[in-house]
Amino acid sequence: MFSIFFRPCGFLALSLTVLLTGCIKKNAGDQTEAANRTELLFGEYGSMTGPESTFGISTHKGIIMAVEEANSTGGVKGKKIRVISYDDQGRPDEAVTTVTKLITQDRVSLILGEVASSRSIAAGAIAQQYKIPMISPSSTNPKVTEIGEYIFRVCFIDPFQGSVMAKFAMESLKYKTAAILRDVKADYSVGLANFFASDFTKRGGTVVADLSYSNGDVDFKAQLTAIKGKKPEVLFIPGYYTEVGLIAKQAKEMNYKGVLLGGDGWDSEKLTEIGGDAIVGGYFSNHYSHEDKNPVVQNFVTRYKSKFGEVPNGLAAMGYDAAIVAIDAAKRSADLSSKGLRDAIANTKNFQGVTGIITINDERNAIKPAVVLKVAGNNLYQYVTTINP
């Protein structure tokens, strides 16, 4: 009789001991330990499962590739780099838990992540608290690096990207009226839409309609009916490719004839797959183009293709860049202490990444150009122009 109760009890006790063996706190400020280790530990957190898992997985592939390449050429200061990756399921609270685990249990020297700004903001606070440098590959919200001096990013920020497309629409395409269809559930999309709107009006254009949807929606005909009524020349959709493909398709079905514009969220082979010929002729801003003739890019694309059997998208490239910026900083740093790593990252200047030449500014953001791509159909994105900050 007793065993019925004690069996789970015993199990709990056992698991508790297992838990406790690994949980004795080591001196938080102890940097000699990290320096004395035979390997250099990087932590990565991202959405490996859940609706946004595709972002996390692409980024992860880029990071893994960068680290493997670095290790094959001898690692850093004679140490191999090891990446510990955790899934945060696309939840900010899980992101905080995983980053806490990376820092306090696994005792990594540096953290790479996240794609979504909301999770980078939540978990960045932890990294800042423990003074462990964190590099976000592709969180474009300005607030991310405002957390503190240990938080960096290797991508441009929303205000710049928003203005890129506004400038492009006005100056290159010579359009005067625009409509916006924003994803209100994505901070990224809302930010981009706001910056586009203000820049477009500042340059003398008119935003005739500003409507919204939520990611996960599949029917946009009501919004498109309203937009069509206002007859804008361009429709700016700063969303993710998951919805943009459907929006383009339905816009075509609704006989909307304006030009579609978007941001780096469009970057995926799925965009043309779902959007079909409806999305052809649309323009979007991106961190890089795999069509870019620059040998650095072409080299990267070839290596990535042979490793994973697919064309790297922007997120994979950003993940790769975040990792090589970190590795480069580790090589340059005096010691491998977190302070040393931080200072080395902050001093990154004119570093050749796949997504352009990266310079980290005083706000710990990357100063780099954006490219504008034109969707040519069948997973082809033509390089149109580069817009410098």
């Binding site: 004795i24 899934d87 900010p92 903001i121 939540a122 209100v184 901070d187 809302v190």
Partner: protein, 319 residues
């Protein structure tokens, strides 16, 4: 209040305070974080148990009340102009309490339709309310809408979380072991018979909802103030389901069962990290198997200490 209460309460509070110090000094933060998550989960599951387990009203909207508590408390300490004056332990305590009260009011509103509905309908309505609360928050720009609300002072410590967990347990336990608790149990057993024995079923359903949401709100406030950041996606339907699983796993109506359920549901996924993407497949599987093999949950209607007492009386009967 009697002497015995203080004889127990003072050492408990002192022990929690000492443990707080110990954890902060000697145990790594990740483990502390999981322990704190357990504390919050305990508050959530115990409070939901009052509605689901004791009163037999099936609610799937607990995350919504947690969201109300989290956002109200966080707004007071962060967005509100007088916010900084709240940024002390006392201030945060007041903010969390306000969050609980706001959630209680929301619980009152949700409790009202529950008067006319039962079973699955109530489940779906509470689910709907939870979603509506989340959508409303998504549309309030002042608290960041979909972007969430960062920069919340991180002042909920192990001590505060577990003091609140202890208060929750004590309050719920005392309610259940009183005439009010018996009235709630009678609702679960047979509403018509309860009504025929003079129980104002409507009144007690609403009271159960209010008390339960109040503590969910407290849990939300605590969550916000140790997370340092809240956003609507933390309070989705999945969170509600998680709490339901805790209650069901532990045993409907068993407060100590809820605590065990909360600990398992919080700690187990941490151990299952090695399963990688299969982790989220294993979890529902465990739930299904539990329902098929042990539908009453681990403890059933009983409290953990009653299992011992039951055995003792059995032994006596045998002897």
């Amino acid at each position: 209040m009697n002497k015995r209460f203080f004889l127990i309460a003072i050492p408990v509070v002192a022990a929690l305070y000492g443990l707080d110090y110990f954890l902060n000094e000697y145990i790594n933060e990740y483990v502390v974080r999981v322990i704190m998550n357990c504390g919050i989960a305990c508050i959530l599951s115990m409070s939901l148990n009052l509605v689901n387990g004791c009163a037999g009203q099936f609610s799937l909207g607990h995350a919504g009340f947690m969201a109300v508590g989290a956002y109200v408390a966080a707004t007071l300490t962060t967005v509100f102009p007088a916010g900084p004056s709240f940024q002390s332990h006392l201030g945060v305590g007041m903010a969390i309490l306000s969050g609980g009260i706001a959630a209680g009011l929301a619980g009152y509103l949700v409790g009202l339709p529950s008067l006319r509905l039962r079973g699955d309908y109530l489940a779906i309505v509470t689910l709907g309310f939870g979603e509506i609360i989340r959508i409303v928050i998504l549309n309030i720009e002042a608290v960041g809408g979909p972007r969430g609300l960062p920069g919340i002072p991180r002042l909920s410590s192990f001590f505060w979380i577990y003091v609140w967990a202890a208060i929750t347990g004590l309050v719920l336990f005392r309610i259940i072991r009183s005439s009010v608790g018996r009235a709630l149990l009678s609702l679960r057993e047979d509403e018509i018979a309860a009504e025929s024995m003079g129980i104002n079923t409507a009144k007690y359903k609403v009271q159960a909802f209010v008390i339960s949401s109040f503590f969910a709100g407290i849990a939300g406030g605590l969550f916000a103030h140790y997370q340092g950041f809240v956003d609507p996606s933390s309070f989705s339907f999945n969170r509600s389901v998680e709490v339901v699983i805790m209650v069901v796993m532990g045993g409907m109506g068993s407060i100590s069962g809820s605590v065990i359920g909360a600990i398992i549901v919080t700690v187990l996924p941490e151990f299952l990290r090695f399963l990688d993407k299969f982790r989220m497949v294993v979890f529902p599987l465990i739930l299904i198997i539990l329902m098929l093999l042990r539908p009453m949950g681990l403890l059933g209607h009983k409290e953990i200490w009653q299992l011992f007492r039951f055995k003792r009386s059995l032994k006596k009967a045998v002897a």
